[in-house]
């Protein structure tokens, strides 16, 4: 009995010493690597806009100068709107970084404007804030897990069609088959990209019968506003039904979004 008790006592003592020695070396090693040797480095983020996709990329370099391995290193970036709805998210995983190894990866997050606008059309017309969440987590020495999350990094979102208002339509003339007019609309492009596209018009008479349709071009450079009238030509499909009075349904087709965006209805005559 006494021998067993003594053996148990030694097991507990030796195991405790080993455990705390391991913990002390692991904590010292991680502090040395992360703080003093700056072993985890995140480079300056780069943005690129191509084929309707906004790509945000960050170079990451891990130099494991510690005594133990780094496992399951995960870098996650998430973009959320003001209400907390996820706009886009991406995770880059590095499975294993042995001690003494240096690994470099590029963490990229892609944002399709087509997808974004189909889900959040209000971003076209309203300025808001987009929240960025960055999270870095890894396991050290197979036993300790670390995670640092930076939340609520806010970035302003400028609406490309801010304050869009259809003001008036002036009919300039007609040749019997075509209608020449100009539409006055007001908008401010608060976006960092130029805004523009094809304005589609469907013309109705006062009885609600469609009498023609047409197209005009809208282009507002980044940071500027549109106040001048947009000239347009409409093809009359039923010239006999044109009475000089009625309404026009206006929609906008932008290059990065395949579906037309309804801008509203405006009366003429």
């Amino acid at each position: 009995m006494r021998q067993s008790i003594r053996a148990l006592g030694w097991v507990v003592t030796i195991s405790t010493i080993i455990l705390f020695a391991f913990l002390a070396s692991a904590v010292y090693s991680i502090l040395q690597m992360a703080i003093f040797n700056q072993g985890i480095r995140i480079g300056d983020p780069r943005t690129e806009f191509k084929d309707g996709n906004l790509k945000l990329s960050m170079p990451i370099t891990i130099n494991n100068t510690g005594y133990y391995e780094i496992n399951e290193l995960k870098i996650t970036t998430t973009l959320k709107d003001k209400n907390g709805t996820v706009i886009t998210t991406n995770t880059t995983t590095i499975r294993e970084i042995k001690r003494g190894d240096v690994r470099s990866e590029v963490h990229a997050m892609s944002l399709s404007l087509d997808d974004l606008l189909s889900r959040m059309k209000y971003l076209l017309f309203n300025d808001t804030e987009i929240k960025l969440l960055i999270s870095i987590g890894f396991r050290y020495a197979y036993a300790l897990g670390f995670q640092i999350s930076v939340t609520n990094i806010t970035m302003p979102w400028g609406a490309p069609l801010y304050g869009l208002t259809l003001k008036e339509i002036n009919i300039l003339g007609s040749n019997g088959t075509h209608l020449f007019l100009e539409m006055t609309l007001y908008l401010e492009n608060h976006s960092f990209l130029d805004a523009g596209g094809a304005l589609h018009l469907k013309v109705y008479n006062e009885k609600g019968e469609q009498i023609g349709e047409g197209i005009g071009l809208l282009y507002v450079p980044a940071g500027e506003r549109q106040e001048d009238p947009v000239p347009m030509i409409l093809s009359l499909t039923r010239p006999e039904a044109f009475t000089g009075k009625g309404y026009v349904d206006v929609s906008l087709q932008i290059p990065t979004y395949e579906h037309p965006i309804k801008l509203g209805r405006i009366r003429y005559g």
Partner: protein, 176 residues
């Protein structure tokens, strides 16, 4: 015979028994948690030392840890005072059970999250918050396992102590 000896003990004899025990209890109480209690509450007694140290630690409040070390030191004092009886073994087991429960509770099951104040130039005019999460569940599991082994050891020691007492009582009086 024993009763006669008890009656013959003077105050000086009692002092010889009690004072070393009390001193030993104070010393072991200090080693087994008292120094940590002192460290945690250093800022209250000497703000010039403790204040800066506690600010450096990412622990928002130290109440949980204070109870943990207070229980540890208190039980150690009782163990040292009651040496030579069955109580130290029972107290050791109680301490193991309490420390297991408190460790799990204080460390949130081995996953602790701290909120770190972002640097002033980063946080100016924003609501940026930095969360640091430490997951040491495997380490906690080993600590709990060692506590369990320690409990078993104390139980065996208690059994051994009781059986030894029984053996002393039932020793045949006719033997030399």
């Amino acid at each position: 015979m024993g009763e006669i000896e008890e009656e013959e003990k003077t105050a000086k004899d009692w002092a010889k028994i009690i004072i070393p025990r009390v001193l030993r209890a104070i010393l072991w109480g200090f080693i087994m948690g008292g120094e940590m209690l002192l460290l945690l509450h250093l800022s209250q007694f000497a703000p010039q030392f403790g204040g800066e140290m506690m600010e450096a630690l990412p622990i928002p409040e130290t109440a949980g840890l204070s109870y943990f070390f207070l229980i540890f030191a208190g039980i150690e004092v009782a163990i040292q005072l009651l040496r030579g009886t069955i109580f130290p073994y029972a107290l050791s087991m109680a301490r193991s059970i309490i420390s297991i429960i408190l460790l799990v509770q204080i460390t949130n099951g081995g996953i602790m999250t701290f909120t770190i104040q972002p640097p002033s130039e980063m946080a100016a005019g924003t609501s940026i918050s930095i969360l640091f999460t430490l997951d040491f569940r495997p380490v906690l599991a080993v600590i709990l396992l060692l506590s369990l082994i320690s409990m078993v050891k104390n139980l065996l020691q208690a059994v051994d102590f009781l059986s030894q007492k029984e053996e002393e009582k039932s020793f045949p009086p006719e033997l030399p």
